[in-house]
């Protein structure tokens, strides 16, 4: 039982860490929106897919929320780091502060709801597949 729960926690962390780059990059693209060469809604497709895949994986509720919390909470830090990367040291603090402020606002306003909707969609697909062909253990 303990081994199993550890495995689930580990899987939750791995899934959350895997969803972190799409979420962070989407936030960085929002901050650098003038440099995005495509319509802005396209930047939300990778995090949507990542979170939908977490929903599709069929984790239990605790692990699922852990994964989402990890990816949403750390994404502003990753976004600020990505924005900060090419800027010079003279303006680093100002750029970092602006990027962090905008990313946190977008993480709360856009990414958190998007993560819940995406995992719900993934979970709904998973549930419909399970209903269509119940797992062997239910027999």
């Amino acid at each position: 039982m303990i081994g199993n729960s550890r495995e689930e926690v580990l899987e939750s962390i791995v899934k959350g860490a895997a969803a972190l780059p799409p979420a962070g990059i989407a936030l960085a693209c929002l901050v650098l929106r003038d440099h995005v060469p495509c319509p802005l809604w396209i930047v939300f497709i990778p995090p949507f897919l990542a979170w939908a895949s977490i929903g599709l994986a069929g984790l239990d509720m605790q692990s699922l929320l852990g994964s989402l919390a990890l990816s949403v909470a750390l994404s502003p830090l990753l976004a600020a780091g990505l924005v900060l990367l090419p800027s010079g040291s003279s303006e680093a603090s100002r750029v970092a502060f602006t990027a962090l402020r905008q990313s946190i606002a977008a993480a709360i306003g856009i990414m958190a709801p998007l993560s819940l909707v995406s995992t719900s969609i993934g979970g709904a697909i998973r549930a419909s597949l399970d209903r269509a062909k119940p797992p062997t253990w239910t027999k």
């Binding site: 929106r33 995005v36 990542a50």
Partner: protein, 173 residues
């Protein structure tokens, strides 16, 4: 683990990998444009090569030659105008805004800029007497540049500063 479960998990992993690959591709495109812009902002320079205030037959004018240099960038750069104030010590001798011709592209996409701009602006009557009769003045302002980013036309200001020679004594001859 059931067969269905294994298949769904495989699909989930494939979707996650697709998300990772697509976000990396997106970031590579955005970072390329952004780091280009940051490098351009660090490398762009505007210098006053020569500047003088002269008596003319129908008044007086300021003549400025500006050397504008910028590293190559992947987006077009247009000079919108040159704006500066003229000072001698604490005395202010006017604000000048010299617009560039419409659509004046100083650096085509992917090429660096190295251009000398010759500009002229009339000096207002109330400033002409004080400015031209006296020691050299100071010119402080900006070259206003329009940078055509992928989603926006961004206005950037490049600092411009230099001495303005005066034509003191020329009128008397």
């Amino acid at each position: 683990m059931s067969r269905l479960n294994a298949r769904v998990r495989a699909v989930s992993h494939a979707v996650l990998i697709l998300a990772l690959v697509s976000c990396i591709a997106l970031m590579a495109m955005v970072q390329a444009s952004y780091s280009d812009y940051v490098e351009w902002m660090h490398g762009v320079r505007a210098e006053v090569v020569a500047a003088s205030a002269l008596w003319m037959p129908n008044g007086s004018e300021i003549s400025v030659e500006v050397l504008f240099t910028a590293p190559p960038v992947r987006f077009g750069v247009e000079i919108e105008s040159i704006q500066f104030n003229v000072w001698r010590g604490e005395a202010h001798y006017g604000y000048y805004n010299i617009p560039a011709p419409s659509g004046f592209v100083v650096a085509p996409r992917g090429e660096g800029a190295h251009a000398t701009l010759s500009l002229y602006a009339p000096v207002a009557g109330e400033n002409a007497g004080g400015l031209l009769v006296g020691s050299p003045a100071r010119l402080v302002g900006d070259v206003v540049v329009r940078v055509n980013l992928p989603r926006k036309r961004q206005i950037a200001r490049v600092a411009l500063e230099g001495n303005l020679a005066t034509a003191w004594g020329v009128r008397d001859r």
